[in-house]
């Protein structure tokens, strides 16, 4: 490595771009499986409980199928999570090398909790045939709590990047007074965790419901599809209004904790009171102005502080080199997330009213089409939310403490582009493979509906056959 002594401090190294692209791609892939890992076990246990209490084989079938889907998404989630663990060192040695001792502990906690979850999920999935029904249920019961524990730790690590705590930097630029517990319980943890857990349950709930709503639209209106819609849809719609409130609290907290991110997500260019809420539009970093977009006078100040007189610092207060590199992306992502939240709120109220009147899956086709798209919409909100968090924190990898370019690996940029391309290709085929397998599963389930499958949810499994026919 040749150190260019007088290099412009702000010139980003060539490997920064591929490293960020790779991190973003792999995280955004991983996060797809996470809501299932967190929330699907809850749904499957609810169905399992219903099935055992009411002696309902349809509910048990659902529970069993969901457990298998959970197993598959868990496996893919584990593999993509392993990729992330490697990348913390492969791509960001500056971060883990310097701050690993501060924010590493939650990852260690997460590792153990995921391990526990993997074991319990394996027991649950592979225990359907032989275990006593209630024993089987009780063995599965810890899974959702362990999953929440895992989410707690990993979100804590991310929240720490937003609101670093638990250490001091001495005059020699060394880290001292490391307190990993203070780092875990940093200021951003409560709102990030609350907002994310609700999002995870919403995403998994709406997505699972969508699948059965599609069946319902195709006139498969049996008890199997009814339960398949109602269990997840109830969870998701009840949480939607909650998320509206929690999301708002999150935005207010970001306004107080991370003013630059707030200014970027709301494209506040000039500081002041009576800030207008701008929907979409394009930010021009050269002139610090916004072009186009719809402007609602005063609303932004009102949302941030409860009154139009709230003073909102704008991007003009952030030195240009510390402004998020892509304000337009952050802002659009925020507007998309809030937009989706609003649309889902409508869906939730529609469902409440329709269910209250008919006690069944609403028959209105417009509603059904709406519900069928809700899974995709929620995922768009989840991905957009993470873009707000991560891109909005730029140029900092540890807010106000370490810049992202200080953390990136010194590996040759060409090598990084190659590995990024390989990973992108591989993930594409992994995604196709997963979808193919899930579809094959569901097609076969449909073929066997109401045949041997429903009869024998619990019962002895056939002996292991040596050289079984395939």
């Amino acid at each position: 490595m040749v150190e260019s002594v007088d290099a412009d401090l702000l010139a980003a190294p060539a490997q920064l771009l591929p490293a960020r692209e790779q991190m973003a791609l792999t995280l955004m892939f991983h996060i797809v499986f996470v809501p299932f890992g967190i929330a699907l076990p809850t749904m499957m246990l609810i169905a399992n409980f219903k099935g055992l209490r009411r002696n309902d084989p349809v509910a048990l079938t659902l529970a069993r199928r969901w457990s298998h889907a959970a197993g598959l998404t868990f496996a893919v989630g584990a593999a993509s999570g392993t990729v992330l663990s490697f990348e913390m060192g492969l791509l960001w040695p500056g971060l883990t090398g310097r701050f690993g001792e501060v924010f590493g502990l939650p990852f260690a906690i997460e590792g153990v909790l995921f391990f526990l979850e993997a074991i319990l999920v394996a027991i649950y999935i592979y225990g359907w045939r032989r275990l006593q029904p209630w024993t089987h249920f009780w063995l599965g019961l810890p899974i959702p709590f362990v999953a929440i524990g895992g989410a707690f730790s990993i979100i804590s690590a991310n929240a720490w990047m937003n609101m670093p705590a638990g250490f001091t930097i001495d005059e020699n630029n060394q880290i001292t007074n490391v307190d990993p517990i203070a780092a875990i319980f940093n200021d951003a943890l409560p709102y990030e965790l609350g907002h994310f857990l609700v999002a995870a349950y919403m995403a998994a709930g709406f997505t699972v419901a969508s699948i059965y709503v599609v069946g319902w639209l195709k006139d498969r209106r049996d008890r199997y599809h009814r339960l398949g819609v109602l269990i997840p849809l109830t969870i998701a719609t009840v949480l939607t209004p909650v998320q509206f409130v929690v999301g708002d609290l999150t935005a207010v907290a970001v306004f107080e904790d991370q003013p630059a991110k707030f200014a970027a997500m709301e494209v506040v260019t000039d500081s002041g009171t009576h800030q207008a809420e701008v929907l979409f539009g394009r930010y021009d970093s050269a002139t610090n102005t916004v072009e186009g977009g719809i402007s609602i006078p005063g609303l932004n100040s009102w949302l941030a502080g409860g009154s139009v007189d709230t003073y909102v610092p704008g991007l003009d207060q952030v030195p240009p080199e510390n402004r998020p590199s892509n304000v337009t992306v952050v802002h659009w992502a925020f507007d998309i997330m809030v937009g989706v939240g609003t649309v889902l709120l409508l869906l939730a109220f529609w469902f409440f009213i329709a269910y209250w009147r008919r006690r069944d899956v609403p028959g209105n086709r417009l509603f059904l089409w709406f519900a069928a798209s809700a899974g995709v919409l929620t995922y768009i909100a989840v991905e957009a939310g993470w873009i707000v968090t991560e891109v909005g924190r730029q140029p900092w990898i540890v807010y106000n403490i370490m810049r992202t370019e200080e953390a990136v690996t010194n590996t040759d940029a060409g090598t990084l582009w190659i590995s990024f391309s390989l990973i992108a290709l591989l993930y594409l085929s992994l995604a196709i493979g997963t979808i193919t397998v899930l579809r094959a599963m569901s097609r076969r389930w449909r073929r066997t509906d109401r045949t041997d499958d429903d009869l024998a949810v619990y019962g002895p499994r056939p002996a292991v056959e040596e050289g079984a026919e395939r």
Partner: protein, 350 residues
């Protein structure tokens, strides 16, 4: 004992468990790959499928735990290793993802063609990961990782005879332990034909591993004399134990007391891992960074230890439960949902 050394010891322990379980799973993938054509390989493949699936994810997590412990407890070591060894570690990662993809596909691929493809993907990943991880160990062992962000040579640090040989040795180790486990598994399922089949493979892989081990030592002698001396002078009891256990598995693998065979197989591998650790001590990165100098602050180390104790309390009972249920035959692939249903399903019993 000070906390840094204990944390390093826990890391080596996790690595040992990974070598005995995770690397063994890769070995199973290797035997899947080499089992021959579709008809000839059907019986061993069915055994491998049956043996590997229920515990797959659990085995895999040890590696993650090693990584996390390393960046929390020994951040600069982690950063130095990961950045200098970007290429082999990225390939190891590729293998992990390939394997997971093959696993996910084979789990449900009803069609033969898909299963076949899945087998290839699975097998390729099963070679790549242990080989690349082994070369990384070789690079550390021979002192080719200086402290710093990509401070070492990105190619020659691992593209050298010793590191490559350690990579091959790791592949052989995986193939060996998995064949040992599979012969035990075959016995449990009452398949004497397969027991013999895997015993023969265990012996072949064990002998290959032995030969590679000797070649690694020779290469190390030429390459890094100081490390060679440490391996031999400090590690000899462990190397000897490993040899004895290797011979023991050869003798026991045809018998009936299968837990002994598993234990001997795993013990031999554990002894090798500890021989490496003992030879390196007190260095994390020979011969530039010691455990003391590279360790995190005292609060972090203390919490890592507290959490390790907590983890033991949480995970050990769960693991025991898993293996106990598995050995009692209470766990198994659920045929009605994960495979095309076979005709002799169990009777109704809700």
């Amino acid at each position: 004992m000070n906390t840094a050394v204990v944390v390093a010891g826990i890391m080596v322990l996790a690595l040992t468990l990974y070598a005995c379980t995770g690397i063994a799973d890769y070995g199973a993938g290797f035997w899947d790959l080499t089992a021959g054509g579709r008809d000839r390989g059907r019986r061993p493949r069915s055994l491998i499928d049956n043996a590997v699936t229920p515990v797959w994810e659990a085995n895999h997590v040890w590696l993650i735990y090693v990584l996390v412990l390393c960046w929390t407890g020994f951040g600069s070591t982690f950063a130095s290793v990961m950045s200098t060894l970007y290429i082999p570690l990225a390939f190891a990662l590729l293998g992990i993802v390939l394997r997971a993809a093959g696993f996910a596909m084979s789990k449900d691929a009803a069609r033969a063609r898909m299963r076949h493809l899945a087998g290839w993907i699975f097998g390729a990943g099963s070679f790549l990961t242990p080989f690349c991880l082994g070369t990384a160990v070789g690079a550390v062992l021979t002192g080719r990782i200086p402290v710093g962000n990509a401070a070492g040579d990105e190619l020659t640090s691992w593209l050298n005879p010793t590191a490559i040989l350690v990579g091959l040795l790791t592949v052989a180790i995986g193939a060996y332990v998995s064949a040992v486990y599979l012969s035990a598994e075959a016995r449990r399922h009452g398949a004497p034909g397969l027991q013999g089949y895997f015993r023969a493979r265990a012996i072949a892989a064990g002998l290959a591993g032995l030969a590679l081990g000797v070649v690694v030592l020779i290469s190390l002698w030429f390459d890094e004399r100081q490390m060679f001396d440490r391996v031999v002078q400090r590690g000899w009891p462990l190397l000897l134990a490993s040899l004895v256990l290797l011979a023991a598995t050869f003798l026991l693998a045809g018998g009936t007391r299968m837990w002994r065979v598993r234990l001997a197989g795993a013990g031999g591998i554990a002894a090798l891992v500890w021989a490496w650790a003992v030879a390196q001590y007190p260095y994390l990165l020979p011969f530039s960074l010691t455990v003391q100098d590279g360790a995190a602050g005292p609060a972090t180390l203390r919490w890592l230890l507290i959490w390790a104790a907590g983890a033991l309390l949480l995970v050990v009972p769960a693991l025991i439960l898993l293996f106990w249920l598995d050995q009692r035959g209470e766990l198994g692939e659920d045929p009605a949902t994960s495979r095309a249903p076979t005709l002799h399903e169990g009777s109704a019993q809700a």
